[in-house]
C-alpha cells in the first residue's frame, strides 16, 4: 500500500479522488463505497431555490456529453438544514460548491457555510456555462475573478478552491488572479461551452441551446490547462474533465494536479471512483512509488 494522501489547502485528503460537483449524491450509496473517497463534493448550491434549465438537459456526443442542468438547487437553507446533516454519515471531508449570480451572493453563501463545521472547504463555481446567456461566467475575467475571490476570502478561513472555466484565452491569467486574491487551490476546469444540433429535426439537442461538454473527449484539453496552470501558479490543482480510469488520473497528476475529480465516468459506472483509486494504488505499487505526491507535475520533459 502506497501513500495516496494529498493536501489541498488546509485539507488533507486520504486519496486524490473526489466527485465532480453535479454528478454525485447520496443516492450513490448502494452502488459505491462513498467512504473510500478522498472528499465529497455535492451539487453547487445557490442562495435561493432555482429550477434549472429546460429539457432535454443532457445529450450524448462523441466520447462526451453536453449538460445544461443549470444550477438546480433547493437553496442554501435546505443545504444547511437537510443536506449537510445527511452527509454526516459519510467520513470524507465535504467540499461545498457554491454558485451565484453576483459577487454578493458568493459572499452570502461563503459566510453562511463558514459557520458550518460540516463544511471542510468551499469550491467557488465561477465557471458554470449554464447560468448566464451564451455561457458567460465570472471566471472569464481576471478582474471579476480577483474581486470575487477577495470578497469570499474576507469572510472565511476555510480552504477556498476556485473552479476555473476552460473557455478562456489564457487560463494562466485567471489562475494568477485567483492566487493573488487569496485562493488556496484551483479546480481545472469546469465544462467546455458546447452545442449540438439534430440534423433530422434541426433542433438543438439541448433545451437551453448550449451546455457544458464533459467526458473523455475533453481530457487532452484539460491536461493542457492543468499543465499551464501548474506552470503559472503554486496553488494545488484539482484536475477535472474526462477522467475515466486510473491512467487518466495519473496523467493529470503528472501534468500538475494534486487531486482529481470524476464526473461523467460515474454516470457510466457508478463505482468508477473506487476503481480509479484501486488503479492508482496498483500504479504506484507497480512503479514502486511510495508517495503519490512524488508524481505531481512530474511529466518527463527530458
Amino acid at each position: 500500500m502506497s501513500d495516496l494522501s494529498v493536501s489541498i489547502g488546509k485539507l488533507m485528503l486520504k486519496n486524490p479522488i473526489m466527485p465532480a460537483s453535479g454528478t454525485f449524491g447520496a443516492e450513490l450509496t448502494p452502488l459505491l463505497d462513498i467512504n473510500r473517497l478522498g472528499a465529497l463534493v455535492p451539487k453547487s448550491v445557490t442562495v435561493s431555490a432555482r429550477d434549472g434549465n429546460p429539457s432535454p438537459r443532457v445529450c450524448e456526443t462523441s466520447a462526451s456529453m453536453i449538460n445544461s442542468i443549470g444550477i438546480q438547487s433547493k437553496g442554501i437553507d435546505d443545504y444547511v438544514t437537510r443536506l449537510l446533516p445527511e452527509y454526516r454519515k459519510f467520513s470524507p471531508p465535504l467540499i461545498a460548491s457554491i454558485s451565484g449570480e453576483t459577487i454578493q451572493e458568493y459572499e452570502t453563501l461563503a459566510a453562511r457555510l463558514d459557520a458550518q463545521p460540516d463544511v471542510a472547504a468551499l469550491e467557488l463555481n465561477i465557471s458554470c456555462p449554464n447560468l448566464r446567456t451564451n455561457g458567460q461566467a465570472f471566471g472569464m475575467s481576471a478582474e471579476a475573478t480577483a474581486q470575487l475571490v477577495r470578497t469570499v476570502r474576507a469572510v472565511t478561513d476555510k480552504t477556498v478552491i476556485v473552479k476555473l472555466t476552460p473557455n478562456v484565452t489564457r487560463i494562466q491569467d485567471i489562475a494568477q488572479a485567483a492566487e493573488h486574491a487569496g485562493a488556496d487551490a484551483l479546480t481545472v476546469a469546469n465544462t467546455f461551452l458546447a452545442m449540438a444540433i439534430d440534423s433530422e429535426t434541426r433542433k438543438p439537442r439541448i433545451g437551453n441551446l448550449m451546455g457544458g461538454l464533459s467526458g473523455a473527449a475533453v481530457k487532452p484539453l484539460v491536461v493542457r490547462l492543468i499543465y499551464q496552470v501548474h506552470q503559472a501558479t503554486r496553488l494545488p490543482i484539482i484536475g477535472s474533465g474526462g477522467v475515466m480510469n486510473g491512467q487518466d488520473a495519473i496523467e493529470m497528476i503528472l501534468a500538475g494536479a494534486s487531486a482529481v475529480q470524476v464526473g461523467t465516468a460515474t454516470f457510466l459506472q457508478p463505482n468508477a471512483m473506487t476503481t480509479i483509486i484501486d488503479d492508482i494504488d496498483d500504479y504506484l505499487n507497480r512503479h514502486q512509488i511510495e508517495h503519490l505526491t512524488d508524481l505531481i507535475g512530474q511529466v518527463d520533459l527530458s
Binding site: G22, S55, V58, E60, A63, A216, F267, P270
Partner: protein, 260 residues
C-alpha cells in the same frame, strides 16, 4: 437498486423496429415493480458514456428472467441489437417508482407504440392479482401493435387502433374509452408512450374522478436521482415543482403531470 452484469438469454427482432431481449437476472434479489426501469450500458462505453433507460417489460422471479421490449432508435439501441446470447449487459436497477394498482375496479391501460413495453408489466401484475384489465393499443401500423396477442393470452381485453386504418385519432379513441369507463367498472387509468393519449387520459381521469398514473420519459444521465438531468415539472398541492423522472417517477399520479 444494484449494479450488475446479466447474461443475455435471447435477443430477437419482433418486427422491423422493435426488439425483445431476455436476460438472466439471477443476480437480482429485489422486488421489481411494473413501471420501474433499468439503466443499461448499451455498447462502447468510452464512445457512448450515457446509459439508456428501459422499462421492465416482464420480470419473472421464479425463472429469474428479466425482459425488455425496445424500439431501435439511435446508436444505443442499435448497439443493443448487436449483442448476442451469452454476452453480458451491464445494468443498474430496478430504479424509480412503479405503478400502483387500484384498490378496486378494473384497469384501463392506454398505450401507444413502445409505451406498451411499460404497461405490459402492469397488465401482468394486475392479472396475477385477478384484476380485470382493458388495454387500448395504438400504433402507426398493425405491425407495430406490439404484444396484443400476449396481452390477450394473460386475459386482458385488448382494443387496437392504428394510424394506418385511420382509427387512432382522438375523435375516435375518446368515445371508445368513455364507453369503456361507462360500461365497465374502471378503477384506474394508466398511460404511456404518447403525449396526446396521456393528455386524453388526464382529461378522462379528471372528468370521471378516476385514479390515474402516467409513466413519463426524459433524457437521463445518472438514472438514480443525483444529477437532475431528467427534471420535469409537476403540479403538486397547487404549486409547480421540479421533480426527477428517474427517482421521483417515472410513474406519477396523473393529476400531477404537466404535459407540454
Amino acid at each position: 437498486m444494484k449494479l450488475f452484469n446479466a447474461k443475455i438469454i435471447a435477443n430477437h427482432p419482433i418486427n422491423a423496429r422493435y426488439w425483445h431481449m431476455i436476460l438472466d437476472a439471477s443476480m437480482l434479489d429485489e422486488h421489481v415493480a411494473p413501471g420501474q426501469f433499468f439503466h443499461l450500458q448499451c455498447g462502447d462505453a468510452q464512445q457512448n458514456p450515457l446509459r439508456r433507460p428501459l422499462s421492465v417489460f416482464h420480470y419473472h422471479q421464479a425463472s429469474a428472467t428479466l425482459e425488455f421490449l425496445y424500439l431501435v432508435k439511435g446508436i444505443g439501441t442499435q448497439q443493443m441489437t448487436q449483442r448476442r446470447p451469452g454476452d453480458y449487459m451491464n445494468l443498474i436497477g430496478p430504479l424509480g417508482r412503479g405503478f400502483t394498482l387500484p384498490e378496486q375496479g378494473a384497469l384501463l391501460l392506454i398505450a401507444r407504440g413502445v409505451g406498451v413495453a411499460t404497461l405490459h408489466a402492469l397488465a401482468r401484475e394486475a392479472r396475477a392479482q385477478n384484476k380485470t384489465v382493458y388495454v387500448l393499443l395504438s400504433a402507426r401500423t398493425a405491425n407495430d401493435l406490439l404484444t396484443a396477442g400476449a396481452l390477450e393470452e394473460i386475459g386482458a381485453v385488448v382494443h387496437t387502433v392504428t394510424d394506418q386504418e385511420g382509427t387512432s385519432d382522438l375523435e375516435q379513441v375518446r368515445p371508445l374509452l368513455e364507453q369503456l369507463i361507462h360500461a365497465e367498472k374502471i378503477g384506474a387509468l394508466y398511460s404511456c408512450g404518447s403525449r396526446r393519449l396521456s393528455k386524453l387520459a388526464q382529461d378522462l381521469a379528471e372528468k370521471y374522478h378516476l385514479k390515474g398514473e402516467l409513466a413519463i420519459e426524459a433524457h437521463m444521465a445518472c438514472g438514480i436521482g443525483d444529477c437532475y438531468a431528467c427534471a420535469c415539472t409537476i403540479r403538486s398541492q397547487g404549486q409547480l415543482k421540479t421533480a426527477r423522472v428517474c427517482s421521483d417517477g417515472p410513474v406519477f399520479p396523473i393529476e400531477q403531470v404537466v404535459i407540454q
